[in-house]
Structures are given as C-alpha cells and as structure tokens.
Subunit: 195 residues, 2 copies
Amino acid sequence: MTSPAPSFYHPAPRAQQFCSQCGHALSHEVPPDDNRVRDLCKHCGAVHYQNPRNVVGVVPIWHDQVLLCRRAIEPRYGKWTLPAGFMELGETTEQGAARENQEESGARIRIQSLLTVIDVPSVNQVHLYYLAEVLDPTLDPGPETLEAAFFKLDAIPWQELSFRSVSTTLEHYLQDRPGGRFPTHHYAIDLRFPD
Amino acid sequence: MTSPAPSFYHPAPRAQQFCSQCGHALSHEVPPDDNRVRDLCKHCGAVHYQNPRNVVGVVPIWHDQVLLCRRAIEPRYGKWTLPAGFMELGETTEQGAARENQEESGARIRIQSLLTVIDVPSVNQVHLYYLAEVLDPTLDPGPETLEAAFFKLDAIPWQELSFRSVSTTLEHYLQDRPGGRFPTHHYAIDLRFPD
C-alpha cells in the first residue's frame, strides 16, 4: 500500500475517474434528462452524483462555561473548536453531534435544541450545531483532540478559534443566553470573502 | 451502453466495489485511526467515505393557497409533493430549494425562512424546507412533474401526499400561520415505524 500524506484524501476524493460499480473509466458529461455534468459510466449505466456533506456538532455548556477542543488534525491544527465532524450514514444530525462530542471531548451531555444551520457552499458543506448541557464535566478527549477544556463565556479564545461557523455559533449563543430562548439561526458563510 | 432500469441507480450507488481514483478493487475494513468500516483502496490509499444527503425544498404560498407538484418520477409517482430535490455541489440549501422549485413548478418565488429541518436516517437523508412567497403564479413545470397546481389550505390532498416530511412540513406551516411567526422546526422521522 502506498502512503499518501494524511490530508491527501481528506475528507474524500471528489474527482472521480473510475466507476465504483464496475471499475471502468468514467465519462464526464450531462446525462439524458439532466442539466449538469455528472460522472457517469457508459459501461454499466451508473451515474455517480456528488452532493454536499453535513458537519454536525454541539455547543456544550457547563454553567457559565463552554467546552472547547483543541484540534489534533488538519485543517486548523492546534486551534480551538466546538466538538463537530462529518455526519455518518444511519444517524440523525443530533445523534451525529452527540457522537462527535463523545469522540472529541468525552464529556457526558444532553442535547437541547438546534442552534445554528450554516451553509458553507465554498466547501460544499452544511454545518448544524446543537446546544447541549454538560451533565458530567469529566473529560476524555480522543485522538483528534490535543486537549479539551472549559472556558468562561467571557474568556473564549476568539482569536484562536478554528472556523467561522464555530465563532458565529458561539456569538449566537451569547446573544440568546440573556433571554433564555434559543431559536434556530440559519445563515450562509462565504469563505471567499472573509469578514 | 447497457440500459439498467431508470430506478436502478437512484439516487446514486452506495455499495462501492472499485476505487474511483485508480480503478483497483476496494477493501471494506476499518482504516487506522478510524472506528467504522470504510471502502478503502490498498493500492492508492484513498478512503471513500459515504455520508447522508440533503433534500432541499420550498413551501410556496400564494395568498391562501399552497403550490404542489404531482410527481412524474419514482418513488411515489403520481403523488402530490412540495417542490424539492437533492442539494447539489456549489449551492446553499436556500439556493438549492429555489432551484428545485424552478425546475419542478416554474413559479417565481421569494424565499422567506427555514421552516423545517427533518432527519430521515432510515434513508440517510436530511430534509430542509423553506417557506416561500409566490410572486407570480404562472406555472411551468419541468419533466419531473406531471402537473403543478395551487390548493386552498383547507383542501390539501393529505391522502395523496408523497412523503411524511412533506405532510409534517405542511402541518407545521398551518399551525404557525395564525400567529404569523414561522420559527424553524427540527425533528426526526423514522420510516421503519409509520405513524
């Protein structure tokens, strides 16, 4: 087995050259009754659609503190982030968010409500963050986390956060917290135009 | 080119046998530093993750009527549905919902807010529906629609609707309409246990 760099196929190949069903070379053209170029196999007839992926995560709150994890993986190695990752087959967004928290922080939580739905079309992702109550602050971070820690809400390391979806989600939480109501916020982030 | 049945590869192949990068046969095992079985290529190192897909659509309202489309495709051929379909690469959920409406009904709309986020884990999907105002009720349905029509809100063909995400989204709209506020609703549908 050859060994490409760890980030080489992260998160998954997008350009497809061979049919996953029969192994023949793919064509790249607009199929009949379609309106955009697809990866299609003229040997077996398979059309290999590609679609955006969901990233699911949590905002874990312990009294007046939020639980953050320092990334042990690229991109943004060493930055602080909310526990989150790619949604897997067979789970709900909520189950995926809880799983990611378990893998990355190990804290026991109870998920409360959907806080943000964030389109990030430049990377073909939708990010969904759930507000969560930390039930047991014992931490047991997994291999994707350098360290996990609680931060007072007035001491969030804003300059050391990983992604704009993380910082904006935390901003929405802080704005809603005084009122005690946490409706779902929906917006888009265009990474081509950093603010 | 062989001609499989139109539904044979709908919406896209899930079981993968060959590497899309190099064409070699795939292994199905847990990669190092992972915790579930993946389709991986021992020849070139590619890991072919699979993830849930988003279905994006609209609830198009024209005064006291809702715009529905009768499906010209499987599944649920002939049933009435809200304009919706798979989110594509390079677009936001909102842009995808507007595109699907354009393709399936042709009505000119203005999207207003995110009405429902529905997990459907049994088919590895998340459905997102936007409330939309119809600006011009002229209809121009595309090839995936047998006919498009406006229904009075007290004459929705509940027994002839396509999917539970469609009926529950319409129910939420009707419940919220008297109050004039349309917060985002989030829930899961388990198709293994029809209610």
